[in-house]
């Protein structure tokens, strides 16, 4: 076996070699299982943790370029050691717990923030045969696990005993629960089309990436995941201008760094899901499969960053009404149409793309018109006449009552 072949199937080969080595050492079956499991956990954790610090650096450099600045370039060549400098600086800071805070929960939240994204990576296939556990209901597992982030964020906000943190936590939970619904329904189309809930099965079913077959489902899930990972256009939970960093107001130093890294870990996990479900995962010519997955993840991450550089923060009511009045109906329509297509043409012929792309564009335009009707005219401030009182100033109606 030459080196290239070994590298192409790196993950299964490494696993096979490790298993052979452990079995050769005379361990029992249970011990072998344990060692293999721990090695898998270590590999996945290392992969994510090695990916995240360069991402923070990359984002800072890119956002600097978008704002016609240079960005961090003083530490090391091109500033590449900036994440290390940041980590060292944050680790040396004092640990402060507010006197009214729930100490245990306050400590627990930043350590648990990494849990949901790592758990998602347990079912993401990096290569054919290179998956930590090939769950036959991996999609359901992902949906269940990704909601756990809301609990961690709420724990952080609740235990801080701070009104702003509580507000941020409430926003995070409301946002996450709202966007779970359309995003999950968008995932149904993928499951229906692939005929499988296992992520490996879904990747194998994608001869053409599903982003071409189901652009509408991709858009809905992309926006949903964007909001769920609390990134810029929808980072209401940590809006520094309104609620001073929201749920992590009371966190400083390394705990704060945990939240920051956790946010990036969430983004990496979301990009892995999108790359697997819509961009045909590890499939691709020439390069080894895991490199294809990482490339596709990077494309999605750069898209997230690009959107963050462009779009300003959305208002709370706009975020919520967008989920319930726009994305949810669209995702239901999408499920209906895709269901019909799968029933009528189960082999998913390529000409479905020619139907689905115009359908996505048309449904977005039509529902945007309807959305305007549902929303009604924007609230006006009207002069309210109070009988018996002659006021020299116009008394504004409270917003939202005048329709």
């Amino acid at each position: 076996m030459n080196v290239w072949d070994y590298l192409v199937d790196l993950i299964p080969n490494l696993a096979r070699n490790l298993r052979a080595a452990v079995e050769g050492a005379g361990f029992s079956d249970g011990a072998v299982f344990l060692v293999m499991g721990l090695a898998g956990v270590l590999a996945v954790t290392l992969f994510v943790m090695l990916l995240v610090p360069p991402l923070t650096f990359l984002e800072r450099r890119l956002v600097a370029r978008a704002q016609v600045r240079i960005g961090p370039n003083r530490v090391g060549p091109f500033g590449l050691l900036q994440p290390i400098a940041d980590a060292l600086k944050l680790m040396t800071k004092e640990v402060i717990v507010p006197s009214q805070a729930d100490g245990l929960l306050h400590l627990l939240a930043p350590s648990l923030i990494f849990l949901p994204p790592f758990m998602i990576f347990a079912v993401v296939p990096f290569a054919p045969g290179g998956v930590f556990t090939n769950l036959n209901m991996g999609l359901v597992y992902i949906i269940a696990v990704s909601s756990l982030a809301a609990i961690v964020v709420f724990t952080a906000g609740f235990s801080s005993a701070n009104r702003y943190s509580m507000l941020g936590a409430a926003r995070a939970v409301a946002q996450l629960i709202s966007y779970e619904v359309p995003a999950t329904i968008a995932l149904v189309t993928v499951a229906v089309a692939a005929g499988s809930l296992s992520l490996t099965g879904i990747v194998q079913a994608q001869t053409v990436p599903y982003i071409l077959y189901f652009p509408l489902a991709f858009l809905i899930f992309f926006i949903g995941s964007l909001v769920e990972v609390n990134r810029a256009p929808a980072d209401l939970a940590e809006a520094e201008s309104e609620i001073i960093a929201g749920y992590h107001t009371e966190y400083g130093g390394f705990k704060w760094a945990c939240f920051q890294l956790g946010e990036y870990t969430h983004m990496v996990a979301a990009s892995a899901i999108i790359a697997t479900l819509f961009l045909s995962g590890w499939k691709g010519p020439i390069l080894p499969p895991y490199l294809w997955l990482v490339t596709k993840m990077m494309v999605v991450i750069l898209l997230y960053m690009w959107i963050r550089f462009t779009v300003p923060r959305i208002r709370v009511d706009q975020v919520m009404s967008f989920a319930w009045k726009f994305l949810l109906p669209l995702s239901l329509i999408n499920v209906l149409v895709v269901g019909l297509e799968v029933v009528l043409a189960p082999s998913l012929p390529v000409w479905l793309i020619a139907i689905n792309v115009p359908f996505a564009a048309a449904s977005i335009v039509v529902w945007a018109k309807l959305y305007r009707v549902l929303e009604g005219p924007p609230p006006l401030t009207q002069r309210r006449e109070i009988p018996g009182v002659t006021s020299p100033l116009p008394v504004p109606e409270p917003a939202g009552t005048a329709r």
Partner: protein, 174 residues
């Protein structure tokens, strides 16, 4: 409408990221020439013009300027001390405006950090040593915009040379 605005903005951001040169000037290595009428530190003072009238000291809102004079033989004053305290100076320029003999000018400096307080009280010796080399700010003296008194060259020519020097840091070209 229908997200086209967002797409437009995103394309603009991409163009900025790919095409525009960073505006930042990396300060300690490269620096921007301050504007001609900059009200900066390092006052420029010409002893031969100064009559010791102390109008500047009276004009100073903080009382930063200390002048001690001795009376001379032919109805004139000799300036013994002329101290400007940079620590409390807010660079308002009122002393320059007050000077009836055009002896005091603002300077182009902005780096005031020092290890001792005493070194920030600029005295007569320092001012005299610096006067021939410093270019006075044309604050309150717009006539200096045209002629540079230190070199005697017309200012537009100097400005052009400065601009050419700064081309590589992308400041003057914008």
């Amino acid at each position: 409408m229908y997200g086209s605005g967002i797409l437009k903005g995103m394309s603009l951001v991409l163009q900025t990221m790919l095409l525009k040169k960073p505006f930042t000037v990396q300060y300690p290595e490269k620096r921007i020439e301050p504007p001609r009428r900059f009200r900066g530190a390092s006052f420029v003072w010409y002893e031969d013009r100064c009559t010791g009238c102390a109008t500047c000291a009276k004009a100073c809102p903080q009382g930063n300027i200390q002048i001690i004079t001795t009376e001379g033989q032919f109805n004139q004053y000799f300036v013994d001390r002329f101290d400007i305290d940079h620590l409390r100076c807010m660079f308002c320029g009122l002393c320059v405006e007050a000077c009836p003999y055009d002896a005091l000018f603002m300077g182009p400096d902005f780096e005031n950090a020092s290890y001792s307080r005493a070194s920030l009280v600029i005295g007569k010796k320092h001012l005299n040593a610096a006067a021939p080399t410093r270019i006075p700010s044309s604050y309150f003296h717009p006539e200096l915009d045209r002629i540079d008194i230190s070199s005697g060259r017309p200012v537009p020519e100097i400005r052009k040379a400065e601009q050419e020097k700064n081309q590589d840091i992308g400041w003057a070209s914008r």
